[in-house]
């Protein structure tokens, strides 16, 4: 497979049933189009990992793709609950979902440990909370020099990391900027990675606060303009807050959710068709 390929081919070749998948993005640069493609290709038994699962994980869970979720905060930011996530946890619909719950600091530490090829990371965290009691991947560890007790968490090493970035060059070097969250760590911690980008350019100009992933750390790069929608890509798009708000009503009901997925995701073959289907303008450069 070529490093630069279609999102269809990247998901077909790199995402398997039962895989542990980390699709990261901290409000900014969330890889929604890639999530839709996973639903479209009918992946099952996925272990989804993310600090802040939001709408796209709600869709994956509701569509029955996931049997486990590892996370630290699952909500629709500024709107409220994730209805499909709640229905899965509270009512086991469409089937039971196992959850492994951490804090943001713990998840960030786990990704960083994975990126550094360490089996665990340490932090000051969790002590006294209910998480220590209910999550088995939290342990105490003693400092060999001071005797102080700290918290250890195991590294995250996803099978596949999937992120969205602003651009890549033709060699496959990826550049993202603005708030870049934990995406670099997720890619470096993963065995394989897919990056959707707003555009592929001849030459990447350095910009302030940019994170660059060299081509040899990325498995596949796919040009998917506005592939983060309704999230955004700084310099290319703004967050579609109305779309996030509207999701609450769509997702509240199993029937309306299923109809939405069938019409807009399963009923389309790619991101361009999805955009037309939900009434969004198709970017000029598609």
């Amino acid at each position: 497979m070529n490093r630069i390929c279609s999102l269809h081919d990247a998901v077909a070749d790199l995402v398997g049933d039962g895989d542990t998948i980390a699709m990261e993005g901290f409000t900014h640069l969330i890889p929604h189009a890639a999530g839709h493609e996973i639903i479209r290709q009918g992946r099952r038994n996925l272990h989804l990992v993310r600090m802040t699962p939001d709408m796209i994980y709600d869709q994956l869970i509701g569509a029955g793709c996931a049997t486990k979720l590892t996370f630290s905060w699952g909500g629709n930011p500024g709107v409220g609950s994730l209805q499909r996530f709640r229905d899965a946890v509270e009512n086991q619909w469409p089937h039971p979902i196992e959850i492994e719950e951490h804090s943001h600091a713990g998840m960030a530490t786990r990704y960083a440990a994975g990126a550094a090829n360490l089996p665990f990371g340490i932090l000051r965290g969790y002590v006294g909370t209910g998480l220590s009691e209910h999550t088995s991947t939290i342990a105490q560890i003693e400092c060999p020099f001071t005797g102080e007790s700290l918290t250890a968490v195991p590294a995250l090493r996803p099978d596949v990391a999937i992120i969205h970035a602003q651009r890549a060059d033709r060699e496959g070097n990826v550049q993202m900027w603005g708030l870049t969250g934990v995406q670099k760590e997720a890619v470096l911690a993963a065995k394989r990675s897919i990056v959707t980008v707003e555009e592929i350019v001849d030459h990447i100009e350095p910009v302030p606060y940019a994170v660059v992933l060299p081509w040899w750390t990325v498995s596949a790069v796919c040009e998917v303009p506005d592939g983060a929608h309704p999230s955004f890509a700084m310099g290319y798009s703004v967050r579609d807050n109305a779309f996030y708000k509207a999701w609450d009503a769509v997702s509240k009901d199993r029937g309306s959710f299923t109809a939405w997925i069938e019409q807009h995701v399963l009923g389309t073959t790619n991101h361009e068709e999805f955009r037309r289907s939900v009434g969004l303008e198709v970017p000029a450069n598609v």
Binding site: F26, T27, H28, M51, T52, F71, S72, W73, G74, G75, P77, G78, S81, L82, F85, R86, V89, E90, E101, H102, S103, H104, A105, G106, A108, T109, Y111, A112, L123, R124, G125, Y126, V127, G128, T129, G130, L131, H134, E148, S149, G178, L179, T180, G181, V182, K184, E185, Y209, V211, S231, F232, M234, V238, R239, N241
Partner: protein, 255 residues
């Protein structure tokens, strides 16, 4: 308050901002800010007080000076106006855990009398009646920030004797627990509600009503609290939001 010329959100935001103003007078506080009421309060304080609080967002923005209120923690404006933008692992390790944050903000679905907070589940963890978003950044904000300010509407349902789940630790089961847990931050110092302000008692650590908003009675406060609410010896009445405070807040929110 039905005829008040301000909303309960405005009341809480103004009182939270005033507390930041008091801290600012003693040296510019560094605030670890979430989106919503805390972000609004911190941004209001930035406009009202000098030196202005320094805003740090968990998305990695340090020293953001947004000209309009951010809609989300990942708002582009936060990065564009920041002194520095760092990764999420770094913001938690080098900045929050390192003790560089003076004030953290928390809210949640339940708050108990020792200022522990639940934002995880209502009911049993394995079989919850309501699954909430989860702890997010709260456990380590509660552990490591120099002080924590809680902003929550006061009600019997939310202000409970004991949280169903402890997402973040205030004073645990009472005096000495923070030290036993090895928590380095100072813990919750102020709870700003729509009825007034609670602070932990210096001996018992129990949240105690230290101020009531104009027109609020002790009976209303007790009726909105799920534990046997204690009052400070000298309960203040907060000043109503001033015209200036409301003007600046509304301009901020309209921008």
């Amino acid at each position: 308050m039905s005829d008040a010329s301000y909303t309960t959100d405005e009341l809480m935001i103004v009182n939270a901002a005033r507390q930041l103003g008091a801290l600012a007078a003693a040296g510019r506080p560094v605030c670890f800010v979430g989106i919503g009421l805390p972000s609004t309060a911190a941004n209001l304080a930035r406009r009202l007080y000098s030196p202005a609080p320094v805003l740090v967002y968990e998305s990695g923005c340090i020293g953001s000076k947004p000209t309009r209120l951010p809609l989300s923690i990942g708002d582009g404006e936060l990065g564009e106006t920041a002194d520095a933008v760092v990764s999420v692992p770094e913001i938690f390790a080098y900045w929050l855990q390192a003790g560089r944050i003076d004030v953290g903000f928390l809210g949640g679905a339940q708050l108990d009398k020792y200022a522990n907070i639940n934002s995880t589940v209502i009911g049993d963890y394995e079989h919850p009646s309501t699954r909430l978003p989860g702890a997010g950044g709260a456990p380590e904000i509660a552990a490591s920030a120099g002080a924590v300010m809680v902003i929550m509407r006061q009600s019997k349902r939310a202000f409970v004797e004991r949280c169903d789940f402890r997402s973040s630790v205030g004073y645990g089961d009472g005096p000495g627990d923070r030290e036993r847990f090895g928590l380095q931050g100072g813990g919750p110092k102020w709870v700003i509600t729509d009825l007034g302000v609670l602070e932990p008692d210096s001996v018992t650590c129990e949240l105690t009503m230290v101020a009531l908003h104009p027109g609020i009675t002790r009976e209303q406060a007790c009726a909105s609290t799920g534990w046997s609410l204690q009052f400070a010896d000298d309960v203040r009445t907060t000043a109503p939001p001033s015209a200036e405070e409301l003007d600046v807040l509304r301009i901020l929110q309209a921008a």
